[in-house]
Amino acid sequence: MKHRIVKEEMVFNYTELTAIEQYLTQKEKDGLKLQKIENGRFYFLKSDHRKIRYSAVIFTGHSVKNDFITTCENQGWEFVCSYLDEMYIFRTQNSDAVEIMTDEKENFKTVAKRAFLQPGYITFSFYALFLLFKVIFFRNHFEGIIATDAEDCTVLMFVLLSFLQTAIKLLHFACWYQKSRKLINENKKIPFSDLKKAEKTAKIWNIINLAYPVLLLLTALFVGSGYSDITAVCWVCGIIFIINLFILLNEEAKKTKNKRKYAVFAFASLLAVLCIFTATQWSKGEYNNNFKELPYADSVPVSVADLVENTENCTNKIIKSKATRFGQHYKFSSVYKTDNEEEYFSIYYQVLISEHPWVLRDYVNLINKENDGKLIKADNNYGWNELYLNTHNYKPMQTGYAIKGNTVIVVERSELPDEVNFYKTAHEKLF
């Protein structure tokens, strides 16, 4: 006869060992015999309805693992399976079988240590830290530029929420730890959560997990409002969120019996987060141009002072300006009208101000790389003349840069109108 395997997802914590034991005992009463636990999933074999006592223990003595199992079996316990080589599940029909863990103090030390290090607590923190450093530090170091508003804000929100979630979990652990320590000192048992309490805790985690994509979504919508290209993606996130909500409410109605939907919910949340990330990545490097029509010729900014003045005159909405401890970065553009009203001439600016020479150097290298190594350095008249006029060797687009003190100015001009009648010796103004 072929046995039927039943799988059930159950999110559990090592501080809820009693709940696990009660859960497995209940399953056995319902005719489901535990076979194994893999990736937080319980596999049951359909069997007879039996009254079985389960014991879930945290055991980390790897060097004596086999002897431990054999001795437990000698004491009337049947070894069922282990989870991550630290949680061992035994069962027995003998109600008088000796307790596996008899020293509460020693047991508490082991459980507390494993519960603290249980995946999901610290891993999450490290993940958040990794993102923080990856995004803020490495980007600034290797690219020399600063991420756009939407990207920075969403990533920062993600990191903060990750920390918040970890902090709540750690607080929960700390409360359990304090309570346990007090009871242990009074020679009482470790207060492992029972099934009822574990279900209540699961509900709280559900709410926290729900709040997570909500806040991320709101952030993405808020910062994305200025970017038409990600609005559609934000809508997709919103739809995913509504589906999440529906699944969660449905899940709540069924208590914690069917965890499969919870896994779907978690996956959908992850998808929502990924969508937001993708959306913000799309906005990377995008900036709104200053399409204000400016007078020709004399008003073309060529000096650092001109550029700073131009920047100050523009609002945050039309200029990308970001500052970190490494420096300050501006991106903006100007459109100039020629005498012929149908002809326009655009200049795109990027200004990086930093006290760190390596930031300036890396930034120039990056821009040079982006321009296939043809970046013009304005260290002579010819350089800037070529950038603006380029009458000798005409190219439709041209990019040049100048360094003055702690400032790098990168100027990129669009195709010049034929009848260009302005010319300023930029070098004279700059240096």
Partner: protein
């Protein structure tokens, strides 16, 4: 350092080390502890092997390969030293207590 955490033995640890003055298997250690403590102390296999792992890591006991699936354990010289120190400490506690208890009588 593991040895440091074992400078003061807990009551079950003390009994397990006492039992291991002769070579024993896990189940035998449990029975021996019960016998030495005259039934006052009972140790579960989980607690026992958590201790054995600590003792083994600290070099207080050694495993004896008997060719069977399970291994037997026996105290080492280092273990004997720790046990003796603990015994002296407990004796001193009793001695100190006795002088006070005499007054109470």
């Amino acid at each position: 350092m593991p040895r440091k955490s074992l400078q003061t033995l807990s009551e079950p640890m003390y009994y397990v080390l006492l039992a291991l003055t002769k070579e024993l298997y896990g189940t035998e250690i449990m029975s021996e502890v019960k016998r030495i403590s005259k039934g006052r102390m009972s140790i579960g296999p989980g607690t026992l092997y958590t201790m054995l792992d600590k003792f083994y890591t600290a070099g207080l006991i050694k495993r004896v390969n008997s060719g069977l699936a399970t291994k037997s354990y026996i105290i080492t010289d280092e273990g004997k030293k720790v046990l003796k120190e603990e015994y002296e400490r407990l004796k001193a506690l009793i001695s100190d207590g006795e002088s006070v208890m005499e007054v109470l009588k």
